[in-house]
């Protein structure tokens, strides 16, 4: 009974799948799926090398500080960094006093309740505070940015495939629409208010090119602030904000694996020992 029932069920499912396949194949041949502009013109992130590449790479603190400066002077006007606190900056080489000063002088203030009147007000951030958001809420963010909400950047480097390279490519990838694109897809002209960027999934994004000129920020360590350099630095900084424990993780990993290799080697020898007698007994 079971086998007859199974046979019929199997025949039905397999048969209908093959029918579906034939229907799909006929459609595929008779009207092949249209090419899309994203498919043709979207590009994977550029190859760019960072100090934290590879399984043993570490952060370059000077670069993270430069990247933080770019974030502070360029990105922070629109993009929040809500999962990062000022105190976290100690991990990229600022001392306690510097962190305190950075927090106190931060252009955006931390919302709080006025201790005297109880009304909503703001105060200077302290190291324990997270980076205050530039917009009070999503509606305000959308209203100020042509209906596009600037995403939070804390996790950007993990929220995209090849995130570090993606951030770098996006920042350096703004360009005019290629002539071939318009020739092939006349309807795909970048709409007013958007900006063409082949590294962005749907090719047109609301953000205007943020890094436009060499020397847009002035680095304290004397590094020349080319657009390329700034893009790399801020990409490195955002990699750190996304994965601040990267170095701890890799160090712990090396120690763990080293220990496990020895332990497993011993376990193998013990295993062989214990079975040695059985081997002779055969």
């Amino acid at each position: 009974m079971v086998r007859i029932g199974a046979f019929l069920v199997g025949l039905f499912f397999a048969g209908w799948l093959l029918v579906s396949f034939l229907v799909g194949a006929v459609a595929f041949v008779s009207e092949p799926p249209a090419k899309t502009v994203e498919h043709e013109f979207h590009r994977d992130p550029k190859h760019v090398s960072f100090s934290f590449d590879g399984p043993l790479g570490t952060f370059d603190k000077a670069q993270l500080q430069r990247g933080f400066q770019v974030y502070k002077e360029v990105c922070s006007a629109c993009h929040s960094l809500k999962f990062v606190a000022f105190r976290d900056l100690q991990a990229i080489g600022y001392n306690e006093a510097e962190v305190k000063a950075i927090a106190k002088q931060w252009a955006i203030k931390t919302p709080d309740v006025d201790p005297k009147t109880g009304e909503m007000s703001t105060r200077d951030p302290v190291p324990a505070d997270f980076f205050p958001k530039p917009f009070a809420n999503n509606v305000a963010a959308a209203a100020a940015n042509n209906n596009a909400i600037p995403p939070d950047l804390s996790l950007m480097a993990k929220a995209r495939h090849h995130g570090s390279a993606y951030v770098y490519s996006l920042l350096t990838g703004f360009q005019n629409q290629p002539a071939e694109l318009l020739k092939e897809f006349p309807d795909a002209k970048t709409p007013q208010g958007l900006h063409y960027n082949p590294y962005f999934p749907n090719l047109n994004l609301a953000m205007a090119p943020p890094l436009t000129a060499d020397g847009q920020v002035t680095y304290g360590d004397g590094t020349k602030a080319t657009v390329d350099q700034m893009a790399q630095d801020v990409a490195a900084f955002l990699t750190w904000t996304a994965e601040p424990k990267l170095e701890n993780r890799r160090r712990a990993g090396l120690a763990t694996i080293f220990f496990l290799l020895i332990a497993t080697g011993l376990a193998y020898m013990a295993y062989q020992n214990i079975w040695a007698d059985k081997k002779r007994a055969i």
Binding site: A85, F259, L266, I274
Partner: protein
């Protein structure tokens, strides 16, 4: 352990190989033990206060609005903190006491900052079982020694927040603090 016992009994008759084998088996079991202990460390450590909790481990208090005789309640490490501006009379009362007769002998000087004797900063946590004593708020019962009074089991503290009567064993704890200006302190 049992692995070791077993191989011992089975291989004793086989001569020199025995010791080496036992050694490897013991080493393998020991390594597993060490590994297990090492794994326990982060499992326990994760219950310690996290970085965001520790970051709030210090509190700044503005003293400018506290008049003599008044006290405020604020929080330090999520627990009540009493900051009291003692009057001259209260200071005199506290100094008058014979310290040697106290349950937890301390002078007011020892419990305050040099030259700022009028500022009494203590935790608002009764040393008996952790209730919040009364006396910091306006009009609250300050107990028979004029300091703080714990309503849970009737511990009375004097104007230097020293235990005078009731079951509490210690004076109210004075946290580490320092003056950042004449009218502000940093606790923690």
């Amino acid at each position: 352990m049992a692995i070791v016992e077993h191989t011992e009994s089975e291989t004793l008759s086989r001569g020199d190989a025995v010791r080496r084998r036992d050694f490897i088996n013991i080493a393998a079991v020991s390594f597993a033990g060490v590994g297990a202990v090492a794994v326990v460390v982060p499992l326990i450590d994760q219950m310690n206060p996290s970085a965001d909790v520790l970051a709030l481990a210090s509190t700044e208090v503005d003293l400018s609005a506290i008049q003599p005789g008044q006290a405020i309640k604020t929080t330090f490490r999520s627990q009540p903190l009493f900051v009291r501006h003692l009057t001259d009379k209260e200071i005199a009362e506290a100094d008058k006491v014979d310290v040697s007769g106290l349950r937890d002998p301390q002078t007011l000087e020892e419990r305050t900052v040099d030259g700022k004797k009028q500022w009494l900063v203590t935790m608002g946590v009764c040393t008996h079982l952790g209730c919040v004593p009364l006396g910091a708020g306006e009009g609250e019962n300050r107990g028979e020694y004029g300091g703080y009074f714990c309503p849970c089991h009737g511990s009375s503290y004097d104007t230097a927040a020293r235990i005078r009567k009731g079951p509490a064993p210690k004076n109210l704890e004075v946290p580490k603090f320092s003056f950042t200006s004449d009218t502000a302190i940093l606790v923690g």
